[in-house]
Amino acid sequence: MTLEWPCPSPDRCGATEYAFGYRTGRAACVLIVPALFEEMNRTRRMLVETIRALDTHGIDAMLPDLPGCNESLADFSAQSLDSWRVAMARAAAHFGTTHVLALRGGALVAPDLPGWALEPAKGAGLLRQLLRARTIAAREAGREERLEDLLALGRSEGLELAGYRCGAALIAGLEAGLPAPHLAPMTLSEIGGAALWLRSEPGEDAAQSAALAARLAAEIGA
């Protein structure tokens, strides 16, 4: 089900954001922090299936929208890793979550709860991939764009990357961003299945989501 949570932000005073999941008052509730940028879209099915599988283990889970992403009406270009970190902490407090599961770049903005980071990504790696996509697209269109020039522009004025209008604060945050150290890293080889965040067309793998949920349930002890 889709639930609302209050997320006041500088650009949308008193606004609410959406979250998908189950909050039925059970003892354990996992806040799921999605991957960033295109990887978020590619893994939405994976995370929604994981939430459904956690439900069968008697565990609540919530997947909030990052402001500016998915159903959010907030301005993407006003976001930064800090604004997303604050938003996820608000969602955690609102839903009373007990644990956190962060996927890939989600580990950069995860709140201070015990939990896990599945294949955590460094901000610099995500930024490099976005910049590379832009230079490849430019080259295809017969233009040469240099990575260093783009980065300098991004640091001072912000930059459109793969359709995302990234503000200067987001670029700076990505350059320095590291996965939250309090989360236990988890590799995909422990869960099984393919890296769906790489998939050019979004896919899903019910067995993978079931295995991930079973692993979390075992660790939580539910």
Binding site: G125, R132, A133, R139, L147, A162
Partner: protein, 92 residues
């Protein structure tokens, strides 16, 4: 995953990355030949997918691909990509 400089191991890793990006089964990736076209042939390989592909190849094979080296020829077909990556591994 540790990969040796062995050409077969590089070929296997490269096929797995392509399989992950394109959503292909191992049986399907086994049918890829040096002449199999990539960027410009496969519509699902857009600039974002290629960027992900190259970054994942770097991570799994522990190499660095300079942006100057990424051109149409490199990604024209599987054989070109494999030859490039193999040379990188040997040089590294």
């Amino acid at each position: 995953m540790t990969v040796t400089g062995n050409d077969d191991a590089i070929d296997g890793t490269l096929r797995r990355v392509l399989g992950d990006v394109l959503g292909l089964s191992p049986a399907h990736t086994a049918t890829i030949t040096p002449d199999t076209g990539l960027f410009g042939t496969l519509p699902e390989l857009d600039s974002m997918a290629v960027a992900g592909l190259l970054t994942e190849i770097e991570d799994r094979l522990n190499i660095v691909i300079d942006d100057d080296e990424v051109d149409g020829e490199l990604l024209e077909n599987y054989g070109n990509l494999l030859a490039f990556v193999t040379a990188k591994r040997v040089a590294g």
